[in-house]
Amino acid sequence: MSERSRSLLARQVALPLVGVACVLAIWQATLVAYRLPAIVLPSPLAVAKTLVDLVQTSAFWRDVGVSLFEFFAGYAIGVVLGLFVGMLMGEARRFRMAAAPVVESLRFVVPFAWIPLTILWFGTSYVGKILLVAYAVFFVMVVSAARAVAQVEPTLSRVGTMLGMSRWRLAWQVHLRAAAPTLASAARAAAAIGWIAVVAAEYIGASAGLGLMITNAATSLATSVVIGGMIVIGVIGAGVSAVIGALARRWFDYR
């Protein structure tokens, strides 16, 4: 192994491990220093054991599956609608003037504020969570799409018109495409917010999912399952965000 690839390996693997190790050390130290019982804070090792047991149960994978399903369904709806409405806002001045007040005020009503209503309207079913994710994702995409489309280099619009593109073809083939790199980063940010929304909604009212698994574990004082579940949420969130980021870059980034 060359000197260079060894140092690359060191940076890519060793340094992230240092970060994780620090957290684990603080965790373990707190436990020892305050003599906390396992029911309050289990040791990292105990949580690791619980996780190993957990991933061997089908119930765990069902919960993961439900959360991911709710996330992806809501994410797809939110991205498509967000891009569509955002593009309309960027293209059509009248539409923008009509839609802007609604969008601008609603986007500050965080998804969590809707959780009581979604439970009231849709109970603990998938539908409420899917809509909640769609809502969270929609506003990230709408704002970013409207801005990105409006900021496309004006020469490109003139070129498109000169080449004989209709207004909507121009919007679709030139403006949206030119804005794609910006939209790809927005899509990645939206994924993080959407995933947070799903889990939060499950905490409060769900019939399945990671959030429910954790609240159930908490009520039966299975603290290591609570912490294990939190770790799973974090890992899946980072994974989803990385995958969406990589796909978006690969498909849309021409810079």
């Binding site: 020469t155 000169m162 080449l163 004989g164 207004r167």
Partner: protein
């Protein structure tokens, strides 16, 4: 030279106020390919102030002729091109091509090369040239074939699979020119297409460009601030004044004026420069 400044209502043209229909019906062969700029005004609002860009501009280009627009920087030459392309709406007056008013938006007879080439960065060079042919109804195969032909003509056959970010400024401009020419337009508008290339390449491109024009004989409006270029390429030079710009003079160019070794060329150059006032106004 047959180009002349325009009166408000030139007799062979249908008078304003007549319906589009009768204008089409009465259009005769003499108007086909003719570009008429008729008492055009253009102003826009910038930071709350109204800016007068074009003030009563009138001229006419004979079918198949090349008119080179020269004038001080920022005098509204590009605005004039935008108006002729139908990308801008004049504040007053009218532009006609083929005897019909220039439509705002799409114009199927039009090809244009911009000052910034405006290539789509997500498309290869070949796709950039082909996309206009596709939107104008060519099949994918034909569009590719024609694009390759024109890329070959501008000397970029080897770069057809490259992306715009991989090209130099001059190469990108050549792609922009190929894209405009590939449409086989009857009205060709060029906004300083050779500005970003070195002097040697520019001379070469100018020669090739003349040869390309012989193919279809489009009517050409060519904006430049390089007076020698205007003499080399133009059948006529439209000299503009400072902003708010109007036509200072229309200077015909004869074949013998283009020989750079001839006294005729020196006279034409001096005449045009004098028209533009101080020679230092002309960049390059």
């Amino acid at each position: 030279m047959k180009v002349q400044t325009e009166t408000p209502h030139p007799s062979p043209l249908p008078a304003r106020g007549e319906s589009e229909h009768s204008a089409v019906a009465e259009r005769n062969d003499a108007q086909r390919g003719e570009l008429v700029v008729e008492r055009v005004f253009h102003r826009y609002i910038s930071a709350g102030r109204e800016i007068d860009v074009l003030h009563d501009v009138s001229f006419r280009i004979e079918p198949g002729h090349v008119a080179c627009v020269v004038g001080p920087s920022g005098c509204g030459k590009s605005t004039l091109l935008g108006l002729a392309a139908g990308l801008l709406r004049p504040s007053g007056g009218m532009l006609r091509f083929d005897g019909a008013p220039v439509a705002i938006g799409r114009n199927p007879h039009l090809g244009m090369a911009f000052q910034q080439p405006g290539l789509f960065p997500w498309m290869s060079v070949r796709e950039n040239v082909a996309i206009g042919l596709r939107t104008r109804g060519q099949t994918r195969r034909d569009a590719r074939r024609i694009a390759d032909e024109f890329l070959d003509t501008v000397g970029l056959a080897d770069f057809r699979d490259a992306y715009p970010s991989q090209l130099s400024g001059g190469m990108a401009q050549r792609v922009g020119i190929a894209r405009a020419l590939a449409l086989r337009p009857r009205l060709l508008l060029l906004d300083e297409p050779f500005a970003a290339v070195d002097a040697f390449t520019r001379l070469k491109l100018q020669q090739e460009f003349k040869a390309l024009l012989r193919l279809d004989r489009p009517t050409v409006l060519f904006v430049t601030h390089d007076v020698p270029e205007a003499i080399a390429l133009g059948d006529v030079i439209v000299a503009m004044t400072q902003r708010p710009a109007s036509v200072q003079r229309i200077i015909p160019v004869a074949r013998e004026d283009r020989d750079r070794a001839s006294p005729a060329y020196a006279r034409k150059l001096a005449e045009t420069l004098a028209c533009l006032g101080v020679t230092s106004d002309i960049q390059d």
